[in-house]
């Protein structure tokens, strides 16, 4: 209350009228209200509603029934498909994140080491980032096509015809194939970020290392990577979050099949919500909530761990 009355005095009184950085409540509202309204209505409220949903079973014709933690109990203890999806998502996240980040670093180093026409390559290598998941998905479905896809054609040309297979059709290759397409799309992104970080490195340090008779490899491991630590951590976290939620590409390329081998948490949520013909949004909401909590926990742990080491180092 005192805050409000002070604010009101601010509007009416003369004190605030001349402060360049003070503003009346009305003015603040005018600037903030549109953003806050949109945000509250279509981001905050949906989140709250999802949490609410997760404790309910939603039946046809708007019947909502409170089930407590029933949904969560079913998910955790009686839903093998969920655990299959968790396993797939975890594998996808770990592998794709590592390849994305360190592959991106490799590409960036490649350009940083003055590969011929690096400026042009930088633009070309970044192009896949701009394409939608639909475009990437369709292209890669074709690349993996058994009959006329590029993957099998290349194997055939180089004399490895024996390895031709239905890449997306077999549980042992499907997840890896989707992962490949995902990595293809995002490598360029990580590369660009690393490249910016590399150019921001103080040249004197690299020069000093050269004077210390550092070879390229030594320089990479003893100087460059340690100095890029902040960037690496950032990209790892960013990439990690993105992959924990992977949906579009999987949905487009395999729909979670064959035999649940590419089922991710997100595709499972979508399936339970819209493909299972149950009209129940409670159960999938509970999965989404559970997964969100897990993601948050991971982010917290990752940043905590990595920050801890920072403190030790400096």
């Amino acid at each position: 209350m005192s805050g409000l009355s002070r604010r009101l005095r601010g509007i009416l009184g003369n004190a605030a009228a001349t402060d360049a950085r003070a503003a009346s409540l009305g003015l603040l509202l005018m600037f903030l209200a549109p953003a806050l309204l949109f945000y509250a209505g279509f981001a905050v409220y949906p989140v709250l509603r999802t949490f609410y949903n997760s404790f309910h079973a939603i039946r046809p014709q708007g019947v909502v029934e409170f089930v407590g933690i029933g949904n969560f109990r079913s998910i955790l203890f009686a839903d093998p498909t969920f655990w299959k999806a968790v396993g797939n998502t975890a594998l996808f996240t770990v592998i794709a994140t590592l390849v994305d980040v360190f592959g991106g670093l490799l590409l960036a180093l490649c350009l940083f080491a003055r590969a011929p026409s690096a400026g042009l390559l930088r633009v070309i290598w970044f192009t896949p980032v701009l394409m939608s998941y639909v475009v990437v998905g369709v292209i890669w479905v074709w690349i993996y096509d058994y009959d006329w896809g590029l993957a099998n054609a290349i194997l055939h040309w180089i004399g490895l015809g024996a390895y031709e297979q239905s890449w997306l059709g077999h549980p042992s290759t499907a997840l890896w194939s989707v992962m490949g397409a995902h990595i293809w799309k995002w490598l360029g992104f990580n590369m660009i970020v690393f490249l910016a970080a590399l150019y921001a490195l103080p040249g004197e340090v690299l020069g000093a290392a050269e004077l210390d008779n550092c070879g390229w490899v030594a320089k990479l491991f003893y100087i460059i990577i340690p100095m890029l630590r902040a960037t690496i951590v950032n990209l790892l976290v960013l990439s990690f979050i993105g992959k924990m939620m992977v949906f579009d590409l999987v949905w487009i390329m395999t729909g979670g099949g064959p035999l649940w081998s590419t089922e991710t948490v997100s595709t499972y949520v979508y399936k339970r919500a819209f493909d299972w013909n149950t009209f129940d949004l409670g159960y999938p909401s509970a999965i989404a909530v559970l997964w969100f909590v897990i993601i948050l926990a991971f982010i917290a742990i990752m940043t905590r761990l990595l920050r801890q080491r920072d403190r030790l180092e400096f």
């Binding site: 395999t254 064959p258 035999l259 013909n277």
Partner: protein, 431 residues
């Protein structure tokens, strides 16, 4: 000052305009538009059939406009699933008998008093009766058949018995011979449907178990560990292991499997519902079957010791229902009736070459595909029908297991017999 205020005002006005536009757009005073959603956008004959019925309704009811929105199946189901709970959606829409949840959820209304049932075959109507009330007007009926390439079979030096049915051993032999000749025995893919991969095993189970136990199997009352089921699965596994299915079975889509069968790279057989021709009989340049393709129809193989080798699956497919939230119940019923007259039934058969639940008196077939339809009718002689398909009999988790295991993993060669039995039982068997 005015200039200063204009910006947020503009933003607000823009926002309002955007929000308001779709709300205000649809007002009409007297003209009534009947909204219909229909699947099978890519089957010109069916499109023509339903559009004709729509025009007939419009002629009979001046001021009424019947607007059919044509969909692919999955997007349409997605659209329905979201529109219906909100009390929205079309007045009438396409539905198949398997989607019982629309009835239990109360999204569609009983049609007993609205439809002229004299025009409908009783066996077809029966499919839509739940709790004594009829919820859908059956239109399409089909049987599961194995389509095959007559020339190719001849080239392999194999002759189809007069009954049109191989024994299970003969069938396995046909598969092996075809494979040896470098041809794919069975064109089939499960890239976008939860059932085609299970045609062979499903029909085999029906013949082996007979209708009653077959029904019990898919309603959770009979274990998949039953020795007869195991025998069928073992045989199927042999067929699969003989290389019956294409390598890209898992990702091949329904439409692609048709193309695979009659054009490239070509296959001996294509197990499919008899609605196959709805898409195959479109012009060749639209992706249809070549005009001179030697299309034959055979029965699914007879099982050794089968309880009912003359059995075959017949099912009602395309049907129409009325949205419980409609404001034009009678008009919607009029449209459904307009599609079900004997004349329309005749048109259905003559232009679509497919069975129907509409009573139609067609004696003399004509047209380019008359021979095909005669052969199809030939295969129905003496047949004992089981009405319903597994994907329609199962629900929830069991349905998912059916799609993943019997439809895809097992025929895809990814699962052993024991694994398949175990997975199916876990999800389906309640005994």
């Amino acid at each position: 000052m005015l200039r200063g205020i204009s910006l947020p005002l503009c933003a607000a006005a823009l926002g309002l305009a955007v929000v308001a536009a779709p709300l205000g757009g649809r007002a009409q005073a007297d003209d009534v538009t009947l909204e219909v959603w229909s699947h099978e956008a890519d089957q010109p004959a069916k499109v023509a059939f339903r559009e004709l019925a729509a025009r007939n309704v419009e002629k009979a009811h001046p001021g009424v406009k019947v607007k059919i929105t044509w969909y692919e199946k999955n997007p349409m189901l997605a659209a329905l699933k979201s529109a219906l709970p909100a009390g929205k959606g079309p007045d009438a829409f396409y539905l198949e008998p398997g989607f019982v949840e629309y009835i239990t959820a109360g999204y569609v209304i009983p049609l007993d008093d609205l439809i002229d049932w004299n025009n409908i075959e009783p066996w077809a109507r029966k499919v839509w009766i739940h709790g004594g009330k009829t919820y859908g007007v059956p239109q399409e009926a089909y049987t599961n058949e194995i389509y095959y390439d007559k020339d190719a079979l001849k080239k392999l030096g194999i002759e189809l018995p007069a009954s049109g049915q191989f024994t299970q051993a003969q069938f396995l032999d046909v598969v092996k011979k075809t494979k040896a000749a470098g041809m794919t025995p069975i064109a089939q893919g499960v890239g976008d449907r939860p059932f085609p991969g299970a045609y062979v095993v499903g029909e085999a189970l029906l013949r082996k178990l007979g209708p009653d136990d077959y029904l019990r199997l898919f309603t959770g009352k009979l274990s998949f560990a039953d020795p007869r089921v195991a025998e069928v699965l073992k045989w199927t596994k042999e067929v699969v292991d003989a290389g019956a299915y294409p390598k890209n079975f898992m990702t091949l889509k329904l439409g692609e499997s048709h193309y695979y069968f009659y054009l490239k790279p070509g296959a001996l057989m294509l197990p499919m519902g008899s609605w196959y021709t709805g898409r195959a009989f479109v012009p060749e340049d639209k992706g249809g079957q070549p005009a001179n393709f030697p299309l034959g129809v055979m029965q699914f193989p007879a099982m050794d010791g089968g309880a009912c080798n003359e059995c075959k699956t017949s099912a009602v497919g395309a049907s129409f229902v009325i949205n419980a939230a409609t404001k034009h119940k009678d008009l919607a019923a009029a449209f459904l009736n307009a599609m079900s007259t004997p004349e329309m039934g005749k048109m259905w058969i003559e232009t679509i070459y497919l069975q129907t639940g509409i009573k139609a008196d067609v004696k003399n077939f004509s047209g380019p595909h008359a021979a095909y339809f005669t052969e199809l009718m030939e295969r129905q002689k003496g047949a004992k029908y089981f009405i319903g398909a597994p994907q329609d009999l199962t629900t929830g988790e069991c349905k998912d297991a059916f799609a993943q295991v019997l439809n895809s993993g097992f025929p895809g060669g990814l699962l052993s017999v024991d694994q398949a039995v175990q997975m199916m039982n876990k999800s389906c068997y309640k005994g």
